[in-house]
Symmetry: C2
Subunit: 117 residues, 2 copies
Amino acid sequence: MSTLVQEISVAPVACCTPVGAPGITPEEAATLASVFKALADPHRVRIVNLLANAEEPVCVCDFMPLLGLSQATVSFHLKKLLAVGLLEREQRGTWAYYSLHRAGLAGLRDVFTTKEA
Amino acid sequence: MSTLVQEISVAPVACCTPVGAPGITPEEAATLASVFKALADPHRVRIVNLLANAEEPVCVCDFMPLLGLSQATVSFHLKKLLAVGLLEREQRGTWAYYSLHRAGLAGLRDVFTTKEA
DNA sequence: CCCCTCGATCGACATCTATCGATACAGAGT
DNA sequence: ACTCTGTATCGATAGATGTCGATCGAGGGG
């Protein structure tokens, strides 16, 4: 894997096909799975949770004590969530602030909406 | 890891704390993550999708050609989904039939419901 | 009974993932 | 310019995960 481009932005979450849609393709399944994969880690779930309850964007340096992880690891997780469109990044001088992409989260809710009952 | 018991039934999906709930604990985050982990594979997403559109329970032997996977691998994936309460298993003679635990899926939808807008 | 079929489990392997320390890079302040 | 400080990236490593062939156990039919 080259070090240049690396698949940032796998999928704008909101676009995902619902799991109940009739006959999704293997590609659509893979896209959906990539979003779930981003949430398939306790620390990343906590990051989303923290941001969901934050009034303002949160700085990377704030996550480190909250999660008890090194700075490198926090960046690693944030990148994963950013890649699938669940987070938004804003640069303020030297600092990087992350916030929840609310529309993305809401889109995930629709993914689990099946026609019946 | 011993070969005896292996953490069947991690979490009855419906019970999961919403990602937006104020200040979830690391344990709640881990529970949530385990459910997402079950969905974090393209083949498992397809299994859920196939079952969502099936009128009747589906036999293990039917998944093999549909997914292009060996019998062992299909069993492996079904077990993961079963463990988090997304599927239900029914034994009919020699055959094992799997169906979607609809309430579980619906519960996941609520997980993404945040209070505001 | 014996054998055949279906499904779960085991053993092995290649790949992916989470984690950290170290390094590189970019802004800000002096 | 030089130096700090905050982030992202790299390199390495331990552990988890997906895959399959082979084996095991349970039913059902001859």
